[in-house]
Homo-oligomer: 289 residues x 4
């Protein structure tokens, strides 16, 4: 686990923002590991990500005092109308995985988590099917089987929200979870639910995108990971990728090729979220590399 | 110029089609250079492309007798309900290039033609702007400047069709030609008009796709080459490609990146068409590699 | 499991080969699903892959008689100096997985096998480390832990060969197996051992390719799957893929990005091998799509 | 032409560098458009690129005073052991294009220059063949035809250096120039000569890389743009790209596919150089996006 702090900022653009933030960090002896900014000249918005070491860095060899910095930074940030989050890498984000019958994404995420590629806690796997039970057991993650139908949808969502709350979940990953979440549910986790859609959005929204892609005769298929908002398949896009297909590929071939795309774009999105590389604004994302 | 013949076939699938065609070619001493088939099991359609040498090949060392083969093949093909075209590589397809103000595609095609990468005749460049005049002159291709407006559209199309007819044009390439062709015009050249659309179809159809892509916040932009049908941006897709973009890219960056994509997908489509690699069926293409 | 037969042929090129093979299949009422040929005009070699249905296809509605075809085809093939293999899709290839401490490839292959993406039997996992034990157990595959050192190498290989023989293994997949196999071992499985090398061969052969790539400052890293021959990292290449990196990526980032490349190129190679899409000739492969 | 200034810095890493530079710019009222840093933790090196507007920006509405900033920055930079370059976008870099018989790269660069995609001056095209004469004339660029052979090499290089000096050339682009430059020549333009090599370096260095790639049976071909150093094909890599090939592709197909790769990687490298996005260190490049 990297013992670092990450400061994410977005605010109206103005002169001196970089100087201000880097100056304050310098005064406290921060050893900056990465710093990146972006200015959207249309919206006149400023975005910044700074990552610095928390250990044995300042002149007295003491660790960086995160709380003291926070106390000093908060009022300055308020003056500059900054939205900001300061997170310590030593604290792992708590993630819940939702899936249905297709397990390739959830299996991939669990493997990457187990091997340390995804630095987070996974206290919960939820599915409307029981098929994921063995996998969850193998990785030692509690599994909740919550079947859904039109009649029970409301109750199930309430139960899901209880579980998320009781496990202090901060990020919900829809790993091919084939149920639509209500606006109320989504509203509880702003920029806190990541979904993978098995098409190159905005093409082929909705159900059965591989069938639609085959029907249209496209030469590339895609997958898209995005934050979930009220509007289905319309949230801020985090990552997309494509694969070449040909006239020889039938729908089942597209589905198979697509599984690899889905794994890739979803796992990248989750990793970037955990590394605090993503800032949402409007309906877009800034992804700091 | 390759001195070869290419036979393109599509017909209802049934047993023995490969045996039938390859057998007839073998009996006439054809030296097959490439042969490829495709069977669409949904539509129960059969597609075949065979290419063979025309020179000094048979037992008597005489060249392959194309006309005799045609005479023999025609009735057999009729029995099998084949659509087929038999073309000789020694005859170059006659191509007209249509463009407007953006010249990157037409410049690219003219260069590839001049250097022999595109084996065809280009007897005509048509534009509703004069900007391409120097380029056409440099490559020694007659240029017709035909401005278009709502009032003159009909007359201009009639003039364009006259020009195409008088130059025996078989393929029209819309190299970023920003005017919409009438259904009547399109109907005159079935699978004979290739267009490039500056998006990853079916995403962002219509005008200003790069603006729409930027607005949506996609992470990849694309370009698509396709045959033109009545329905705008809805014809059979020949080739697509994409390029990665980031939050740093503004619309003008997308436009610049896109120019390279457009050049690539359009030039590939034209080359494949000239090499008789493409078969249209339904609203799709088979592209034999 | 697809109930199909696949005939793979390579032989000196001559006229009438397609007609001959397709004719013989037609006479026996084969329902051809896919047929593809390739002619290497330099080497004057002919390559062909034909796949046809084995069930209820001929006039009498009887299944295709594979043995009868074989008996008839063999002498004809001999006359034409064909190397050929006729395999029935209803028989699954028996595959052994070898790995060491990095488990991403073996985990990926086991998952694809379990979900039916790889149609084969996996009777054996072998490793010089014990770390794969749980994974093998989860998938219900017998695991043999065979530590290797300079002194025991010979004995270990003998033991490995015994195991492969006793399990009737036909394909050995080196899924990041970090031990070099002896020429004797390799000779026992011609075109029967698939390895993944974590570089874009022929760049960065040998050990620590990611370190070498980082040292050289390349902008893309790659991975390569290939058949193993005596010469290390020099066997016929089956598949390669690359990923873009930047100056920000340190060696550990390359290693992480590379894992996904390795999984992809190795799993594709194994799938294509199982689908009998690959023909080796000289030091190259023909991969029929 | 963007009326901006770009400051490129590399120096030993230490705390406060971002604060120092951004602070000095802020005090002078710089309106920063882009800022990016990179820290190489192995080498403990710091790299920074800052771009800011030069027009009507400070409190008095006066333009940014570049000379005054330079005078103030220089001593501070010296204390911090910075290598730095401060360039004004309003001054176009002067570029010479060298080519031989293959003109696809030089034609591409001239087109991109003419259309404003490459913001530079091109006062000179040099070739050891006359084939580029028409193209240079079309674009209105003076062309020097300087044939080379073993006997005249030295004299030709002296003549070339005279021409470069008399045209105040700052960047030499080897657009498929098939002659090897002497160490003396190269030494005159450190990080000032960009070459394109038609392979995925470090694979297939030296002559006829496409033949070597075909011989080896790779599944992807590549192209690489790099700064020229004494060691052939071993300079700092700027950009690389690849294209998928198959067993069907003969050497001439690789050459044709490769032309597009060469155009892309070379034009990107030249554009990035002109936009001052590239920093060389050791034998690598930092390319700020």
């Amino acid at each position: 686990m990297r013992d670092t702090a990450v400061l994410l900022i977005d605010c109206p653009d103005r002169k001196g923002l970089v100087a201000c933030v880097s100056g304050m960090l310098y005064e406290r002896g921060a050893n900056i590991l990465h710093a990146d900014q972006h200015i959207d000249h249309e919206l006149e918005m400023f975005f910044m990500r700074v990552e610095w070491a928390l250990r044995g860095t300042n002149s007295e060899g003491k660790g960086f005092d995160l709380e003291a910095f926070k106390a000093e930074f908060a009022p300055r940030a308020a003056e500059l109308n900054m939205h900001w989050t300061l997170s310590s890498g030593s604290r792992r984000v708590r993630v819940a995985l939702f899936c249905s019958q297709y397990l390739h994404c959830v299996a991939d995420l669990l493997y990457r988590w187990k091997t340390g590629e995804l630095e987070c806690e996974i206290p919960l796997v939820v599915s409307n099917h029981a098929t994921v039970a063995d996998l969850a057991a193998f990785y030692g993650v509690p599994f909740e089987h919550l079947p859904v139908n039109a009649a029970t949808r409301g109750d199930v969502e309430r139960r899901q929200l209880q579980l998320l709350a009781s496990h202090n979940v901060e990020l919900v990953v829809l790993a091919r979870y084939m149920q639509i979440l209500s606006a109320e549910f989504v509203a509880r986790y702003p920029a806190g639910i990541i979904n993978v859609h098995h098409s190159f959005l905005p093409a082929f929204t909705g159900a059965r995108p591989y069938h639609a892609a085959h029907e249209r005769g496209v030469k590339l298929i895609g997958a898209t990971s995005h934050y979930v908002t009220e509007a289905l398949d319309d949230g801020p896009i985090i990552e997309q990728d494509v694969a070449r297909i040909s006239h020889r590929d039938q729908v089942e071939d597209l589905v198979a090729r697509g599984r690899d795309l889905e794994r890739m774009v979803l796992s990248r999105a989750v990793r970037w979220h955990l590394e605090r590389r993503i800032l949402c604004y409007g309906n877009k994302t800034v992804v700091f590399d």
